[in-house]
């Protein structure tokens, strides 16, 4: 009976074509688990975009969009797969905004999205492994891969004429992934990594680690660690022993603590962390108002993920994942009119009339390679003990 109903509903959907329908979009984030403090704002961001589109009444001839939330738990692949399965088979969602953490995202992609042919756009999964996962063109992300920062980091250093560096990373997935991505990108472009060594967080003394780094040598020391943890310990020991004068810091090291701990002792050091000067972020904040915290991590990316799905549907003239999956890259990138948060109605109009858009959104989306954000980075230099912006890239 249920199957018959489903089949009827499905055929009804097919038949309706450009007629108004009620499109359901799944939102699968870890509402419980390690990042449960971030996910409410992320879901609110995604739902804000859906509401904006529904209110405009311009999507596919006046279709409305209804969000359906599900819990990915962030860490439990089994529970996440079951929740996604429910979204697709029982709620009948047309596409999924999510998931959040890289592990469960990969599981849902392989077990649910791929077999059912459902488009997934994750706002926050950053594992480099997802770049090469089999996806049949169904998977996108509005967050950059961690590997991307390695590439940006290599470019910054080589631009400054630093051709030989020592690398130390905090001994976890983040540190190792970033250090390896950096080494690959840097050596490919002609740089030399003299040593790529791990350090453990929470030790009292890093002089032995610095001894090894100093023995390997290099023009600069890349510290892929945490400023509240071993990263600062390494920098302190390196300055004390006179092993390195300047450093390069990725995102985990850039914070108020860095200025506080070292001040002008690290003048001339460089770094980069995700950041953008695009007006999209401010517009998103205004749009969100007091409803939720628009500056919460990945909330802008979640808005963009949901917006991209709906814009791609409009561009394809269909809410069928198999049809609109090819349009996602098209609406996200140039050419076309730039679209910022709050301008989704305008974008839908342009697409309906056959025009082109370049969705910029809240997080300055630019999809590259296998459908992932190029990411925006703020390049910094330490001057007079202060972190100062060089430029955005």
């Amino acid at each position: 009976m249920k199957k018959l109903l489903l089949a009827t509903a499905a055929s009804a959907l097919m038949a309706s074509g450009a007629l108004a329908e009620d499109i359901k979009l799944g939102i699968i984030f870890g509402f419980t688990g390690p990042i449960e403090s971030l996910t409410p704002a992320m879901a609110d961001g995604a739902e804000l975009a859906m509401k904006e589109v529904s209110d405009s009444g311009k999507l596919l001839g006046g279709s409305s969009v209804t969000p359906v939330r599900a819990d990915s738990t962030c860490i439990d692949a089994g529970a996440a797969t079951a929740a996604a399965e429910r979204l697709v088979t029982s709620d009948g969602v047309a596409a999924i905004v999510g998931a959040d953490c890289s592990g469960v995202t990969g599981a849902i992609l392989a077990n649910v999205a791929l077999p059912n042919g459902i488009v997934m756009i994750s706002p926050s999964a950053t594992s480099p492994g997802l770049s090469t996962a089999e996806d049949n063109g169904l998977f996108f992300r509005t967050a950059p891969s961690d590997a991307r920062q390695g590439v940006v980091m290599a470019e910054i250093l080589l631009e400054q004429g630093v051709n030989s560096v020592a690398v130390t990373y905090t001994n976890n997935d983040y540190g190792k992934g970033l250090a390896d991505a950096f080494q690959a990108a840097y050596e490919e472009r002609g740089g030399t990594v003299t040593i790529n060594a791990a350090h453990e967080d929470g030790k009292a003394d890093y002089s032995a680690e610095v001894g090894a780094l100093a023995a390997a040598g290099g023009d600069r020391l890349v510290v892929a660690g945490y400023v509240d943890q071993g990263g600062s310990g390494i920098v302190r020991a390196a300055i004390d022993a006179g092993a390195f004068d300047t450093f390069h810091f990725p995102d985990g090291m850039i914070g108020d603590k860095l200025e506080e701990n070292f001040g002008d002792e690290i003048d001339g050091s460089t770094g980069q962390h995700p950041g953008t000067d695009s007006p999209g972020a401010a517009m998103f904040k205004e749009l969100a108002g007091d409803a939720f915290d628009a500056t919460s991590p990945f909330a802008p990316e979640a808005y963009d993920a949901a917006a991209l799905i709906m814009l791609a549907m409009q561009a394809a003239g269909s809410s069928d994942s198999q049809v609109f999956k090819d349009k996602v890259m098209e609406v996200a990138n140039a050419p076309g009119e730039k679209i910022y948060p709050g301008e989704l109605a305008k974008a839908l109009d342009i697409l309906a009339s056959g025009g082109d858009i370049d969705y910029v959104g809240a997080s300055a989306v630019e999809l590259i390679g296998p459908g992932e954000s190029a990411g925006n980075y703020r390049q910094i230099v330490i001057e007079g003990g202060k972190v100062t912006t060089v430029k955005y890239r």
Partner: protein, 336 residues
């Protein structure tokens, strides 16, 4: 020139850090060895007693700093040290009264005392974290350096820098003073002699009229002073974090056992053996060899025997080897 560079690099990364670390271990191992020699059990609470002493010293240091009292260029912590020692002495005497005395009265086996000390360790662990928190605390002030690496390079014209931190010098000097005073006390004073007699032969000592409770009390007082000094020096030189003090237990015990448990001289030698083994085995020798080796003999690799992650494995390996081959340690201590 290359030869000088090699020596400077060696001093900067191996000799000076090794000496400072060895002094800290030696002071810690002296405490372990005294407790073992006189109270006859391995005190597992030793590392956390160090943390407690350092914690009180840090709190008093902060108080002094807020009052504006300082003895610059020396760190204020040295001024606060006596208060730390007093508080630690009170703590260990109270612990002895509440826990260990009972087991001494019933003549419990050493292993029971060891287990009791394990319980004490957990409680002290909790007290320290409860009062000052599990995070890292910085309390060093005063001049950080005696010789700065950059200044040394300018002055000497060598390509290698030499850094000498105030805390390293203070550590080495303090350790020398403390060890001298301790040996004078043990060998020259009446109380010290009675402690040694008690350690050598308990029954004979009791027969000759030595009051055991007094000996125990003096032992705890000396241990309190030693652990607090060791804890504060380690915190000054590196950083204070309760968990790292707990981790220090392994190298400290290794030092005491390598030197021979119950033998103060052995504890000092053991401290330096462990410290220099840890530093030299995990040091990447590439730089030094490149300076010394003629022409193109420079090695491609880092010439590092073990990654720095295996630092603790070094003390563990030495411990196992010593226990297998010479259980009494280098200086004829008591067999474990």
């Amino acid at each position: 020139m290359d030869f000088l560079n090699a020596i400077v690099a060696l001093a900067n990364y191996v000799l000076i850090p090794g000496l400072a670390y060895g002094s800290q271990l030696a002071l810690g191992a002296l405490g372990v060895t005294l407790v073992y020699g006189i109270l006859r059990f391995s005190n597992f609470a030793h590392g956390d007693t160090m943390a407690f002493g350092a914690m009180v010293t840090i709190l008093v240091t902060w108080w002094f700093q807020s009052l504006g009292i300082s003895i610059a260029p020396l760190p204020t912590a040295l001024l606060a040290l006596p208060f730390g020692i007093l508080a630690t002495a009170a703590l260990v005497l109270a612990t002895d009264r509440v826990v260990y005395r009972f087991y001494r009265r019933v003549k419990a086996k050493p292993v029971v005392l060891v287990m009791a000390s394990l319980g004490v360790m957990f409680i002290m662990n909790g007290i320290v974290r409860f009062i000052i928190g599990p995070g890292e605390q910085r309390f060093a002030d005063g001049a950080r350096f005696i010789i700065k690496a950059r200044d040394f390079k300018h002055w000497s014209g060598l390509s290698e820098g030499l850094a000498l931190r105030t805390s390293q010098v203070i550590t080495i000097v303090t350790a020398l003073v403390v060890v001298a005073v301790l040996f004078w006390f043990l060998n020259r004073t009446r109380t010290g002699k009675s402690m040694r007699a008690f350690s050598d032969n308990e029954d004979l000592a009791l027969l000759s009229g030595i009051n055991p409770e007094r000996v125990v009390m003096y032992t705890w007082l000396i241990v309190a002073a030693l652990v607090t000094i060791a804890g504060v020096l380690y915190g000054l030189d590196k950083s204070f974090k309760p968990f790292t003090y707990f981790q220090l237990l392994l190298p400290i015990f290794a030092s005491a056992i390598v030197g021979g448990l119950g033998n103060p001289l052995g504890a000092i030698a053991g401290g330096f053996v462990i410290a220099f083994s840890e530093v030299t085995v995990t040091y990447a020798w590439k730089k030094v060899i490149t300076y010394l080796a003629p022409g193109d003999w420079a090695p491609d690799g880092l010439v590092q025997l073990l990654s720095t992650d295996y630092k603790f494995a070094v003390s563990f390996a030495i411990l196992v080897v010593v226990l297998l081959i010479k259980p009494t340690g280098l200086f004829k201590g008591q067999a474990v």
